[in-house]
């Protein structure tokens, strides 16, 4: 006898990636030889001591289980269940979270399905292999300034500024921008998830020659170890990155001459006593803007910030803070003005600049280039994912909110953060 597990309706290796959010799965007897009736099986983690771990649900919403007992028809008909990564037990390698299917009667192993609990992690906690895979994928995507990354660089400029900044859509727009990039990186190496720079803590492992590099004391030109592929980073026809911190990256959180980034707990309180979105989004100034200007160089100006790969780790942390605020304050219902609002008015008043209202499509993914949108829309539509159809090729602001599918499972975007769980 042999079992077969499908995730999201597929047995493809490309679909074997999980976050914290439960995804629909099925199991069936793919080879029924020897089965004389329904077969009772147990699903469990193959190795409890290492690698990513998963949990099971018979249905959702429901209670997670470390093991799942199911009875499989001898006809080979599938049985549905849900599966998710176990919070705080992410993978470090592709396929290191294996689900083992055991015949409950004979204890015979009927199948092993390797999975990956692929989670965005704090950059300072990555293993060497995780770090190197991320750097290699990013360098390949940029391809010395000749690759597709140039579209991302060309989106985050003064022309695209009003689409991305200064208003309610700041957080959703950047969530989409990161997701688009991460999906591109995953097409190069599906085991890669975007790490984040937790800028309210020292990050010596991140600001090292083997990762994001160290500034030359004379010129602020970032230097890398000889094995780091970012040493070949080029944008706009010129190789290299310019970035000098105003703070001690070994001992301090991000600090510029104008101040220090807000601590995480302070940021999460920006929504005020009622925990509302509009005041929370002032985090666009501090910590977001403060983190940008805690350096000189590319990352400190809007037209050049996305030339520096650090930009994406900085913004992954901004997005994580929004995600954490959403989780701790339960802000996933787009019908609530506490979840998303424009100038304290609900969702789509239509008076705010297009692109920032709840039901607006976002540039550049909508490919609209007539005013007031910018004259070009580099990069085309949103990169698709084999794991989910959300947020679609031309995402709306609204589509970026319920990123885990807490309220609407179909809106799950397919990423999670190491310290932001899924909770019904």
């Amino acid at each position: 006898m042999r079992t077969e597990i499908t995730l999201n309706g597929s047995t493809s290796l490309a679909d074997r990636y999980l976050g914290w959010a439960p995804v629909p799965a099925q199991i069936r007897l793919a080879d029924t030889m020897g089965a004389v009736g329904p077969v009772a099986v147990r699903l469990r983690n193959q190795n409890l001591t290492r690698g990513g771990q998963v949990v099971f649900f018979t249905s959702v919403p429901g209670v997670e289980q470390a093991e799942l007992q199911l009875t499989l028809p001898e006809t080979g008909a599938p049985v549905a269940f849900h599966i998710a990564g176990q919070f705080q037990r992410p993978s470090t390698e592709d396929g290191d979270a294996a689900v083992e299917v055991i015949d409950a009667t004979t204890s015979q192993v009927l199948g092993i399905t390797p999975l990956m609990v692929r989670i965005r992690k704090s950059a300072v906690t990555l293993t060497t292999a995780e770090r190197d895979r991320f750097l290699a994928a990013f360098a390949t995507f940029n391809d010395r300034g000749m690759g597709r990354f140039s579209d991302f660089r060309n989106v985050h400029t003064n022309a695209g500024d009003p689409e991305a900044h200064w208003n309610a859509g700041f957080l959703p727009w950047h969530r989409a921008f990161l997701l688009d990039l991460e999906r591109e990186l995953q097409q190069i190496d599906p085991s890669v998830a975007l790490p984040y720079w937790r800028f309210d803590r020292p990050a010596p492992r991140l600001f090292s020659r083997t990762f994001m590099g160290v500034a030359d004391p004379t010129t602020a030109r970032v230097q890398f170890s000889a094995a780091n592929p970012l040493q070949f980073w080029a944008t706009d026809g010129a190789p290299g990155i310019v970035r000098r911190p105003f703070f001690n990256t070994r001992t301090q959180s991000a600090t510029g001459p104008g101040g220090t980034v807000l601590a995480e707990a302070t940021t999460l309180s920006l929504g005020g006593p009622a925990d509302r979105y509009w005041p929370f989004r002032t985090m666009e100034g501090n910590p977001h803007g403060t983190a940008h200007v805690s350096f000189s160089g590319f990352v400190s100006s809007i037209p050049t910030a996305a030339k520096d790969p650090l930009f994406f780790l900085l913004h992954a942390n901004v997005d994580r803070l929004w995600a954490k605020w959403q989780w701790v304050k339960r802000r996933f219902d787009v019908a609530s003005s506490s979840t998303f609002s424009v100038e304290n008015r609900f969702g789509d008043p239509g008076t705010t600049r297009v692109g920032h209202n709840l039901n607006d499509n976002m540039w550049p993914w909508n490919q609209v280039t007539t005013p007031p949108r910018p004259p070009t829309a580099p990069g085309g539509t949103m990169a698709p994912s084999p794991l989910t159809s959300a947020p679609g090729l031309s995402p709306t602001v609204s589509a970026m909110v319920d990123y885990q599918g807490v309220r609407t499972p179909a809106s799950r975007l397919g990423f999670d953060y190491d310290d932001v769980p899924f909770q019904f």
Binding site: F87, W166, N167, A226, A227, G237, P257, G259, S301, R353
Partner: protein, 322 residues
């Protein structure tokens, strides 16, 4: 830890942080040590009276910098409600207040540029103010203003940077920084100047920056190859030439990189850079068939005492090894 327990822990942390929050006016009444600790949180919690107090502190020439920095954060957080305060910040940036405060103001203005819907309307004044301080006696302030303008591709500052490279008495910043700033908007007319700098460099750093920018010059391939092959040249210049050549003419670089890896007398770090470039960007099928190169990399892995070469060969063998 299960998720409900984790939630209780996070909520407790937020509760504790909320109790520690203070207003800017409370900050005014505390000592310097307490102010340093409280300032970031105070910037997040303020009302109209706090804002009024912050504006007052910023104008108080006797106030200490820590307090003024906290005041700047309060103003920054409220700038959408009081956009006229941008004019006040620009005024202070042009003023004779201490350079430390002006650097903090410049930093906050740059932060505001990331988040303020009204900022585009203020941008012309902001850029004009920056232009007015590019000869400021404070070198840090000068350099930061020039850097921001250069990233905005400001033609005036580009012209001044070129003047400084051509006549050192008119230099606003060291030559290496001037070249780097011009690199934000590379024009073909810079290339003759860059070649002259490479021939007669004012500093090693300036030469490296000039070599780097020549990656944008299609006619510079032979020059970059010559610099890369010159074993008498500064190793850092050679490595910069390798990176520039790799960007400008990848095929030409790969041949050079192979030669460097096979050469017993080459600089270890340059060898490591070459191996890394081949690892990351060369055609994997061609590499697999290159027995001589693969033998050599295996030998370097086994015998090299260079940490950089060890890391690079490990990366190569992990990706392309048999």
């Amino acid at each position: 830890m299960d998720v409900p327990e984790y939630r209780r822990q996070v909520e407790a942390e937020l509760e504790q942080a909320a109790q520690q929050q203070t207003s800017f006016r409370e900050l005014l009444g505390s000592g310097p040590a307490a102010r340093r600790k409280m300032a970031p949180a105070a910037a997040a919690l303020q009302d109209d009276d706090d804002l009024t107090a912050a504006v007052g502190v910023l104008s108080d020439r006797a106030a200490d910098l820590g307090l003024q920095t906290a005041a700047l954060q309060v103003i920054s957080n409220n700038i959408e409600a009081r956009p006229e305060l941008i004019d006040r910040l620009l005024e202070l940036l042009r003023d004779t207040v201490p350079a430390d405060l002006r650097r903090a103001i410049l930093n906050v203005l740059q932060q505001i540029s990331f988040r303020m819907v009204l900022f585009p309307g203020k941008r012309p004044d902001y850029l004009a103010t920056l232009r007015s301080i590019i000869e400021d006696p404070d070198a840090q302030l000068r350099r930061r203003a020039i850097g921001i303008l250069a990233r905005e591709k400001d033609e005036y500052v580009q012209r001044r940077l070129i003047e400084g490279l051509e006549q050192r008495s008119r230099a606003l910043v060291p030559a290496a920084k001037a070249i780097q700033f011009l690199g934000y908007d590379v024009h073909a007319e810079y290339f003759p100047l860059l070649r002259r700098i490479i021939e007669q460099p004012p500093s090693r750093a300036a030469k490296r920056e000039a070599v780097r920018l020549l990656a944008a010059d299609p006619a510079a391939t032979d020059l970059l190859v010559a610099l890369l092959n010159d074993k008498q040249e500064d190793p850092e210049v050679r490595r910069t030439a390798a990176v520039a050549l790799q960007s400008l003419a990848p095929d030409r670089f790969e041949g050079q990189a192979r030669r460097i890896v096979l050469d017993d007398d080459e600089d270890d770090e340059l060898r490591a850079v070459s191996i890394s470039a081949l690892t990351q960007f060369a055609n994997p099928a061609a590499l697999r068939q290159d027995d001589q190169l693969n033998r050599r990399i295996g030998q370097l892995r086994a015998e090299s005492g260079s940490r950089q070469v060890q890391q690079a060969t490990a990366g190569y063998l992990s990706k392309h090894g048999a």
